[in-house]
Symmetry: C2
Subunit: 429 residues, 2 copies
């Protein structure tokens, strides 16, 4: 006899519908584990909307409290997104003795410490595999299989919308505007895609992943964040000429002084595994003291892949696996701040596009200013133009500390021959 | 205060030494989880051998029973390899109330049912992440994050030695003999590499992974197994010309009739993620009903990567995560046989190298015999030679059932113009 576990669902958009569908079809995802997961309450905005779901009468409700306090609900699945009412309902669910499964990285990045403390106080757990990397079980890997490692670096493509847009721009030669419109038409981008394209969503996920990988609470404001919305088409072309692909990367580096966190459009060598992650796929690469390099790849978004992670969590909660993990791991205690260092201390290679007037001696001036900061040059590309006009000069540098580069760029942009602020993008390596 | 957990180690070869080293250095891998893992007994063959380890007096022993019955040992880590005395000591450890962590795929593939039954009877768990894929947490993924999926296919490069040899042959142009000797010199291959190169080790891992992915006990004899020891250098060259890379793949396909299991050198399109897994790295690709395609990549062998998986398991056991998982999942009950179907029922594209005398009409005869079995041809390559001599003709077929191909090949090899048995290798797809 299968043990029956009552599930309450907060939110029934595309992901919620996929979860509800999996729970109400004949092959219940819990059966192989000896469980029957039963959907008992679903919070919706409109109870009369057609959903193509075969739900028993009385399951749908427009009252969140009904879901989180129902005595027949043992696990509450939060798929509302955003901060409120998600935060209030999650805290109410924990207070009512329910375990919580959530896909909400925004909520965890901002209120994770409060929610985890509430869960501990209530002796319940919060599982959140679906919050980062879609179907990729990266959180289980960090807390489980890789737990004995001292993690030194974590680099991820964690936003499927941006990766879809960048793929269309790089491989399809589309402009940013066309690719964004295409992503919206294909259902990858929200009607308001701001959080995706400006890097905020990636920063939320990086905050969650870094807290687990390095152990401590991450202040969102400490993540240096730049999105793909400021990219210029010509840079993608120049980078490609030099053998690099642009990816929006969430990067955590552990150095002697602390952990540095940043989200930035970054050049990846064309033969690097992350360069070959296309479309809406995600991938996360981890460097550990014992495991060396490990990479996790899969669908980063979409109803079914997210439902895969949500239901995996539901099963682990129901089986007692997630509660044991949550109760035992102090690293989940986000009360303690993670020691962070600004990314300016980091060393990286960089791509520079300098807009110079094509007059004698200007390249010498630019390179001398780089040399003054001990930044050496690995490649220069300047295509032929008419003399006297502004022309882009692309410079790839060898590795140099960010603050030295910043100093050099400030000086370069003050030269009278410079026609526009220099574009600077780091190279992964 | 960290909770202290006593560890007993069976075997102190390269992996055992890496585990012992991690447990005896200042940064104990358990500390972040609030645990102190303490190495209390180590079974060695020679207690006087220098190991460069800083172990307290009395830890080393040449008596296995001393390790598995020591009241101060709570978790026994089996790193002996092979069937005996590993089986006897693991059963004794469980009977003595110890949890067991093992890296031994051979032991699990042959005696898994007996060992799991003994663990259940003793209310203890067996954790075995290190048995497949080295540092890659694939077992945790199958039992955790991906557990809600109906898995339809699992394809893995699970033997680092073979992948190293194939990489040297494909990218370095080395012969099989040279590449094997290089793998032995580099420490990737055992002095007796038979189990690696003939596919047996991959079959052991496939048996373990398939049991978890599909739920049931796998009869090792039902795995169609071919290794890389029968490959011919010329085939790697011809395949490369056509845009394919040869990988030794462990493949599980779920069809309506059951699961089909095989280990075979297989052609992978050069732009497929598995084609870009080089050297001793491993990768495992999973197709699931919800997750779609997921891929896990990392170091498949070596002391530290294996220690990463072993110590991850030790932590999960100590935290109660692994026991909860082991106790709750009937899929771990390998008493029930998995329903298997022979791979002859599978459909695949194939690479054929036919050795024909270069006389008029012979290609027509060969292609007619393929046509009789409804096997159509996607590409043919024949380089120029002297008329009348034997010449290799390479044929890529479209997808066809294995049994039809077998019938066609039998007829082709009976033609008087055929100078050697036709070489046949499947194409992944």
């Amino acid at each position: 006899m299968a043990k029956v576990i009552g599930i309450g669902l907060l939110g029934c958009g595309t992901v919620g519908t996929a979860v509800a569908e999996a729970l109400t079809t004949t092959a219940n995802p819990g059966l192989r584990a000896g469980l029957k997961l039963e959907l008992r309450r679903v919070l919706v905005r409109n109870a009369r909307k057609k959903r193509g779901l075969n739900l028993p009468a009385g399951v749908l409700t427009t009252e969140g409290q009904t879901v989180v306090t129902d005595p027949k609900v043992e696990i509450v699945v939060e798929l509302l997104g955003g901060l409120e009412p998600a935060r209030t309902l999650v805290l109410a669910a924990l207070a009512a003795g329910k375990h919580v499964v959530t896909a909400n990285k925004y909520l965890l990045a901002v209120h994770g410490h409060e929610i985890f403390a509430a869960a501990r106080a209530a002796n319940r757990c919060v599982a959140f595999e679906a919050s980062c990397g879609g179907a990729i079980p990266i959180i289980g890997a960090l807390l489980g299989g890789l737990a004995a490692n001292d993690i030194t670096q974590l680099v991820g493509i964690v936003n499927g919308t941006c990766n879809y847009i960048l793929t269309q721009m790089t491989r399809g030669g589309q402009s940013y505007a066309t690719a964004l419109a295409g992503a919206q038409a294909a259902g990858y981008a929200e009607p308001d895609p701001t959080f995706d394209v400006n890097g905020t969503d990636s920063a939320h996920k990086l905050a969650v992943l870094a807290a687990l990988a390095f152990g401590g609470r991450v202040d969102l404001a400490s993540i240096a964040c730049r999105g793909i919305d400021t990219l210029q088409d010509q840079d993608l072309r120049y980078g490609k000429e030099l053998g690099y692909i642009c990816k929006l990367l969430a990067i955590a580096d552990k150095t002697a002084g602390g952990v540095s966190l940043q989200v930035r459009p970054t050049w990846v060598p064309a033969d690097h595994p992350l360069a070959n992650v296309h479309g809406s796929y995600n991938a996360i690469m981890v460097e550990g003291s014992l495991c060396g390099t490990a990479l996790f790849y899969g669908r980063g978004a979409g109803p079914k892949p997210t439902a895969s992670a949500v239901l995996g969590d539901v099963l682990e909660v129901a089986l007692g696996v997630a509660p044991a993990r949550f109760a035992s791991l102090p690293r989940l205690d986000w009360q303690k701040d993670l020691k962070l260092v600004p990314s300016g201390k980091l060393t990286s290679r960089n791509y520079l596009r300098v807009t110079v007037r094509d007059v004698p001696g200007v390249l010498a001036k630019v390179t001398r200013l780089l040399g003054t900061q001990k930044i050496s040059i690995s490649a220069v590309v300047q295509h032929e133009t008419n003399q006297g006009q502004f022309v882009p000069v692309v410079i790839m540098t060898h590795a140099a500390p960010q603050h030295q580069l910043d100093t050099a760029l400030k000086a370069i942009d003050q030269l009278p021959e410079i026609g526009a602020p220099t574009v600077c993008m780091p190279v992964l390596g």
